[in-house]
Symmetry: D2
Subunit: 284 residues, 4 copies
């Protein structure tokens, strides 16, 4: 049964929950999910609500318009409506390391996620064999300082052709340029192999080893123009000891990276992430 | 500013959230907290909502009555209303180990919790000195198989005199009898030194060592008549290795026990625990 | 450079470390790893030591014999010597769920482990496509109560032909019979989808949900004739809340299962697991 | 029974373990603990070994001399010998927050640690009542920019009088000056309320909230002249969500801080921490 998913935020005022739930109930929608949160510092109300469209009195293609007219302008809301019969289309960008890619594709192939993966993009040929194992088109755009702008332009054309909604950087070892980031605002998900904001930038496991930390982490975040500084979606950590070499950190970190990235991607696919001022609200 | 805290559950039906939030808003209550959850297996709606009473149109002592008449009977609700100007009164039961007791009293003395501790009860004299350090009355009721019923009766009389609302068993090494459990339903909080339901009963660290587990845990739960089988409020774990002796497990476990117990007590004090069919809903 | 790996245990006596390290050093072996542990309850000494064979004065094929004669009989040792130029051969048994299998094969294909996987065995056809994606022979032995003994006999013949040293049950939903367990003592690794010893047997996520636990786990262990009671190699946990349905537990549990199983398999491949009286020593 | 505890490190060479264990065994010492580790990057060997002195042929007060002559100069070792009949003397420095202090004193009073606490030092009067509850002398040295050098000089005189071996900064909100750090090299233990190296300096919970992290941490480290940059002894973390306010982070963080600090102090008391080039080796 198709469901509508509404995400919104607006200045907090009395009565918003009552009004929104009433709108759905009165029009004979069956609410199957509701999570809300008030940021009392910023005085902002956030909500995610999901209802079954079967028997809903407002036609699917009019819901957005009605909601805009009746509530959004009144409460100064930002909102988005999604429908569960549309599968988002996700591009995966990789370089040479396969662990995150395998984890994403294993879930995809097993049908764990409501998503389509129309293509994999890379700056190297190394992982073409993985794409082929899973029968997914693989496009290689080798990037050099000289051709970067040109290659990204080609990538963006291809993404557009393929109807890509969001991008997952599965250990893609290239900085994404501002143009692409602006084309996919809060829709490029990166995995950084440290517990951000510790160890921003290159070689975080080497830096973690040098600092002598007792715990390492991984962080998945939306990409913004400032390196490794975008809104954090998910983090996790694992304990290490003085006995762990840099190679051990890299090995233990791989497991973290793939799990943390996949959790973040899942939340994004489920439309449970909302970004506000460089922080994420992750609905339950 | 005094706030009202309403906890309720009832069969799930459309419109409940709208009605309840509307009831508060229309009567000029400012909602400062709302968390709700639907158990789609049992089809039960759960809610915790909190609002400021300043300017609320219904007098504080009439709220329960109004809510009962207007909503509770209509929706077949179970509900409780609390007010933040009443501090719950908590009795602590201990035997010989001090770690949980110190942790509770340190928080209490530092003013971390909105609670009163009018007394500490024990079956041994060992921890009287701790009670004295914190200037809290200490009552010793030595328990033997012969005098248990009699001593518990005395304890219950004393608890009643002191206006105790709930009891915390801070490593109290005695099984509580059915009478006392019935007098404090879902209001006796125990800490069990294992990851329940593993290692029910006595000497769980010895059992964990014998089984060769790689992680140990602690569990805080409401006491029911079945031993170590009541609704779980909070659990946590810590990693161990083959190098850890039983003494090491006991030592590492102590830190778990006190933190897990204190987290559970805090949730109870904040009226964020709701029990339904031997499971807890822990509001955020 | 080829290295020897010696694992041993024996009654603890003064001087064993000195003697063993001296044996290697005097014969010009370069020790690159040493970990030892004394179980003071059982009074047993455990050790894992690894040295480079380049320039070692005792020929590789005589080391076992010399060590037996010079030390093992003197100290009543149990020991095993492995060499790093021999890759152990691992069979993977699966049923219908793919997550653990993909995780194992992704690591194998990426060259993370010093192991060979000559075959995958299943009682169902469902995962043949996964084996084919990774070019690994897939053998299906449908098992019924009637043909179980016969099918296992065929499986064991096949395992022998393929030179299999150990078996990984990657969510293989069949109880292994005593004959096969005896043929691979402490060499069959299972993943159980609970925090053992809680929730032994079938449908542990349903049981965890019913019990209302706040944390779920996964356990990898060697298979013994008593169900889910063998020596534990690795465990891990993840936090859940009352909002998680059984389906959520299954989904979150999958990530635990694959990581915990892979960690256990890695420790086994590295010859870092030693079993003593139903407990494991996991060398660092 | 009195035991000797030897910690050493030196350039790695064949035969060191054999020689050291042999030295103890030949002289009729019963080894009850041994942990060693080789840093293959720096080529340094680290060892902690513990043996019973009962029947040991070398007199207690000659052991250091013998070991120096026979082994330390030969292998270019740095080493220290401790005896279990000497309890180290620890000063606790506090400001206004009591949670870490209570945790330390509860353990001390319960006899968990082999340590003496001859005094508590503070720059404020706020926690005098805590010291008094536990009958420990409390010395207040109010610090201003003008009198800091003078006050620290008085503190150091007092510490010397009291025979203090090491200092624990239990949320002492003052930067320690270079003179005091040099007087107690790797013997001042601090607790920083973040997951270092993230959020160095003041108000880390505010910074963590602003950055939108999903996990917060605490770090215990030895104090060096660079702020929050000393060798890390222990870290731990706890998961948070977007719902947690700064006040929630502070509250959850307190539990982390006290546990992490106490674990670090315990390792120090047990002489299981060894510092090498700004990293710690934490023996098992």
């Amino acid at each position: 049964m198709v469901r509508a998913q509404l995400l919104l935020h607006c200045p907090d005022k009395p009565g918003i929950i009552a009004q929104v739930t009433n709108f759905i109930t009165v029009n004979k929608g069956n609410i199957v999910y509701l999570d809300q949160y008030v940021d009392h510092v910023e005085n902002i109300f956030f909500m995610r609500i999901e209802w079954e469209l079967d028997g809903f009195l407002i036609p699917k293609d009019k819901i957005e318009d009605y909601f805009q007219t009746l509530y959004a302008q009144k409460y100064d809301m930002s909102f988005r409506i999604y429908f569960t019969d549309y599968k988002p289309r996700m591009a995966v960008f990789v370089s040479k390391m396969s662990h995150c890619l395998y984890d994403l594709l294993a879930r995809y192939t097993a049908g764990e996620w409501e998503v389509e993966i129309p293509l994999i993009v890379s700056n190297h040929e190394d992982l073409r064999h993985v794409a082929e194992r899973f029968d997914i088109p693989f496009h290689c755009f080798p990037v050099t300082p000289d051709n970067k702008a040109e290659q990204e332009a080609k990538e963006m054309t291809l993404l557009k052709e393929k109807g890509v909604n969001f991008i997952v950087l599965a250990r893609y070892m290239q900085v994404i340029s501002e143009d692409m980031i602006k084309a996919y605002p809060n829709r490029i998900i990166n995995i950084h192999h440290s517990f951000l904001p510790a160890f921003v930038g290159a070689r975080p496991y080497h830096a973690a080893y040098a600092r002598g930390v007792k715990i390492i982490g991984a962080t998945s975040h939306y990409v913004t123009t400032e390196l490794d500084a975008g809104p954090i979606i998910e983090q996790d950590v694992v304990r290490i000891t003085h006995k762990d070499t840099v190679a051990d950190l890299i090995s233990k970190g791989k497991d973290l990276e793939k799990i943390v990235l996949s959790r973040a991607v899942q939340k994004h696919i489920e439309r449970k992430c909302l970004v506000y001022k460089n922080r994420t609200i992750i609905f339950s």
